[in-house]
Symmetry: C3
Subunit: 466 residues, 3 copies
């Protein structure tokens, strides 16, 4: 529990979410790279509330998904018997008094600003409801007000025709006086047939004391929940637009925000330029003025200021140092621990794994660099392979500064190509090459005159037979 919290937030995350039709509990479904339940927790914390989470279904997985949130306190609901029961399950871990805000673990769009507004309004009320105006309120519970004060929430099924016409409905988010809640919760009667305890039954008690109120949320999106995957898609779109709009306003150009995915942990600096179809995930950072080409997929990587990543590149766990001249791609794949230094080039159909491409080095085409160092200013020709794996062990390749590796070479690791050395095209290199030496591992060519013609005749004849 954070020490500067001004109250508690109780996030209800015990349900299964049957309509999600998933083996995964609803609140764990990811949104922008985070489990859905993280969003109300983050909003609560940003609003100065200490987060408490009620768990039941897939309890262990929910706890594990929040293991990186040390300020979260968990409470176990033994059976899922209604929202009142869920809150009751948490009374043992919640503070004695003060304010508690009850939130839904499947409502990721609620903002800290709205929570602060709710808290500011709450004052010394016993219950403050958050409500929403809906033109077509459908099956939602209607807020019945008397003399301005909300006195009752009527379920649509039990509403009179007059009540059905009410357009203010319950958003399922409440601030409570916790000391008072402790006195009334145990007394609530279970509802048949399932014996559920309704948190909303507290409203009438608070209203009787003249200390209930309801405030209407400004943006109805904020209280929308994810009931199925299609609705989840919609929530994701709203969240994504919020994230991208914020970054755009900070000075980043998105050519096509509608086709761009930016997870919540990504940082993008001023004057970066993001082409259509880009996917940025995890803890990725994009530096000032960097250009990310169409359809790149970048995860947990650092792309420094000024770097150009050309279309269709895939980076994961990679580092590309800041540079005005470094280019990566198109069709480059940088795997974990790939490091590209100032002015280096990683070109098309090139895979780099656990290797450093030092300043000014070029690996331009159709190459695999694994467990290697490519020295400053070295040039690795097209089709070169570092043979780093023998079926049992991985070995390192060291290519010295200024070395030139001819095309289609196979470098059988462990092996060192000395500084300034040259490897002839088509060579298989199995021993170290000294600095400034020329290494060849290929046969002199033979031309057999006229043989191609004969060969063609034979092959054509064979084709005929088939």
């Amino acid at each position: 529990m954070t020490t500067d919290a001004t109250g508690a937030a109780l996030i209800l995350a015990a349900g299964r979410g049957t309509r999600m039709k998933s083996a995964m509990a609803k609140v764990l479904h990811p949104l922008l790279g985070r489990p859905m339940v993280r969003f109300p927790i983050d909003a609560a914390r940003d609003a100065g509330l200490a987060p408490f989470v009620v768990v039941h279904h897939q309890e262990e997985q929910v706890r594990a998904a929040l293991a990186d949130q040390p300020d979260v306190t968990f409470a176990r609901q033994e059976q899922t018997r209604g929202t009142g029961d869920a809150v009751r399950s948490a009374l043992g871990v919640l503070p004695e008094d003060g304010v508690v805000v009850v939130l839904n673990g499947d409502g990721p769009l609620l903002t800290a600003a709205t929570l602060r507004r709710l808290l500011d309004a709450h004052g010394d009320h016993l219950v403050t409801l958050l409500t929403v105006e809906m033109a077509e309120p459908g099956r939602y519970g209607r807020i019945v007000r008397e003399g301005g004060q909300p006195v009752r929430i009527v379920e649509a099924a039990e509403a009179t025709k007059e009540q059905l016409a009410i357009t203010e409905v319950n958003a399922g988010i409440y601030a409570f006086d916790l000391a008072w809640l402790r006195t009334v919760l145990p007394a609530l009667a279970p509802h048949p047939p399932k014996g559920e305890i309704y948190l909303t039954d507290t409203l009438e008690l608070a209203a009787a004391a003249g200390r209930a109120q309801a405030i209407v949320v400004d943006d109805p999106d904020e209280v929308e929940g994810a009931n199925d995957r299609w609705q989840l898609s919609r929530l994701r779109r709203v969240l994504q637009q919020r994230v991208i709009a914020d970054i755009a306003r900070s000075g980043v150009t998105f050519e096509s925000p509608e086709t761009t995915l930016v997870e919540a942990g990504v940082q993008i600096h001023r004057d970066a330029w993001i082409a259509p179809g880009v996917v940025l995930r995890g803890s990725t950072t994009i530096g000032e003025g960097a250009r990310i080409g169409a359809h790149c997929v970048i995860t947990d990587s650092f792309v420094g200021a000024g770097v150009t990543v050309k279309p269709h590149s895939v980076l994961e766990g990679a580092t590309v140092d800041a540079s005005q001249t470094t280019t990566v791609g198109p069709f480059a794949r940088l795997r974990p621990a790939a490091v590209v230094r100032d002015g280096a080039k990683v070109g098309n159909f090139v895979e780099v794994k656990k290797s450093e491409i030092q300043a000014g080095a070029k690996v331009s085409h159709l190459t695999y660099i694994g467990d290697a160092t490519v020295g400053e200013g070295a040039n690795v020709g097209a089709g070169t392979i570092t043979c780093n794996y023998d079926g049992y062990n991985k070995h390192r390749t060291e290519i010295g500064a200024g070395a030139f590796v001819g095309s289609n070479a196979a470098l059988v690791a462990p092996v060192t190509i000395g500084e300034g050395a040259i490897v002839g095209a088509g060579s298989t290199i199995t021993q170290d090459v000294p600095a400034d030496a020329l290494a060849l591992g290929r046969v002199r060519q033979t031309n057999l005159s006229g043989r191609a013609e004969k060969l063609r005749e034979q092959l054509a004849a064979l084709k005929k037979q088939r």
Copy 2:
């Protein structure tokens, strides 16, 4: 004609669709992988109606595009002289009596549910119109009602100011009493100047008998037609959203449905996860819990449960068996008859054609596998090529279980690498390798001391001369 049909549907597909500006007849333009005309046919069939199609323009192509729909009966319209003439052309093949619903071949959004509503409402009326409410009815024909019954359709050009204010317009979809229609159609007068016969002229006759009605469609989208390619795009978007929403609600996560293309014949199972930019075409199946990375393009392929396809992979006619450990991509290309078995890996810049990658085998980088079998647990090194084509014939490569093919090897087919055999990196293999043998086809390396330095001087001098 289906035997359990409760009536007939006549789909008008004779027109050219001039505003499409296409060499292809309008009704053949594809939507979600099917010719547009398939959608009204499918809706009719789903509503229990036997499908009849009136053809004229590109008759042969329309018949060919529907060759896989054996229950469709065709009627040829000799000249395109109006909707009345189109229906008249089909009287010879339609049932004697019962109900016939007339539909437009360029109206792909109409649902079977709406057709059923039309049929239910029709009862013993002579004509039941489907109409649509439009805030701005523009050039559409207005429905003139008298005493609630529709009595006339007035074209906008001929409408009085009062009639122009009518917002209920003709959707061009009708249910008719077929026996009655046979009696009135021949008597309809052609309209100058083109001598067209208007189907809408039947309305007044039915109204005079007090047996005409009109019902308003709930969703105006359903009766929108594709008049040009921009409108076609809009219809496609609506159709696509319907298809994806249905699949999402069945328990599939789409990270970005707006950027995802899913053709009508695709099946996706529960808990599959579809990243942005994915394109799924043809008869593709995605298994339970499979993960499809960003921008993959998958056509007519089977991706089994649990499989991970990484970003930027292209699969066509491929099979990837169900497995929790199989990964394909990124940048993998699986071509027709590529088969990937349990726990195998096909990595980046790898092409597989007409080949089986058996359980646990790895083909990780920059490789072409064509007409081959890669045995269980075998490892094919980076840059390996199966040389399956000699310019005339294709030959097979067999790589035995547990074999290890070193990087940059060329396997000249037909050739067999025995079980447990090892091929040295950089080797060209032209003969079979026995089981457990080590095959080498490369030269011992020579290092020429100091030669790189001299070579550089020569090359630099040459550069200067240029």
Copy 3:
């Protein structure tokens, strides 16, 4: 200045655009491949107005960005002291009299049609304002009309409650009688505290003469400006939709216009088919009936009629001749001066640079072709590399008609493979190959019986030690 201009347009492009948070002046931010300021210039020119541009911030860069627009006349504003001052700065270069329309350099959505409407309405008025109706006019200046004539623009901050209710606001676009403007501009009083001169102050003077008017723009989008990058994204989307809708209506199919980027200079011909995620930039032309697969990125290239470009291909400065049988991709990269002739094939993971692939030639997989000619009907096997670079110089490779280059060959340039010659798989070719000769540059294979088994034991032991 164009000789047939019926007046002048003065585009205000002097500001910095602080809220863009960019090192680049606001009007230079690109939209569909052009600096934003180009759009009002083009609209003005299309409406028959000679374009004048007021510059100050990043003057040199703005002039440079418009260097290809020879009819633009520049005027320098010494200090940015309001719109009146900006116009005053240009009086020296503007015509003596006639009409001048004042436009905003950051308003890219204004159409020539609206400008023509403004000009037609202007007649012999002294000032004609363009205004916009806004349901929520917020901070915009309200148009106060008296007897129908606009007499004053009241800033929101200074408006009475009654005036705040006015929904017609100033769009910041004006037509002026230039001769009259010359007489009144010098007399306008600067506004404290910054001493700015407001162009809007002219309205009262014109109204006093009974010669002011205001016309309301039909589509409010047209007068929206780009104040920050998020708004810029919105303008781009509107512009992009206009461009794509026009092309679609001309007979082109876009499977997913929402995910497609088409810059303003791109031409696409009838019956072309554009899959999702395609990015078309620069001066690209797509020929009649060509098919562009998903996620292709094509810049400054010519794709001829009938050609198929498969998914995930990247073309830049390339030419693909018209052909019903040519295919490029998937995963092909054509770089500048790559030329692909009729019926040729460039397959997956193939890079072509400054080379011609002649009619019917095939380069199907994992190949780099640089500085080369691949002759008619030649076949280049998988994994082939033209070794065109020696670290200092680039050299050419010539492959004759009908030649067959076996897989994994390295062709060390400069080198010529004669017509009909065959190069054995895995060969490194360092000398010319005569026509119809068979060239081999590889070692005979050795099989070492049982050695693989022993090797595995050693490698496994080594692994254990580690």
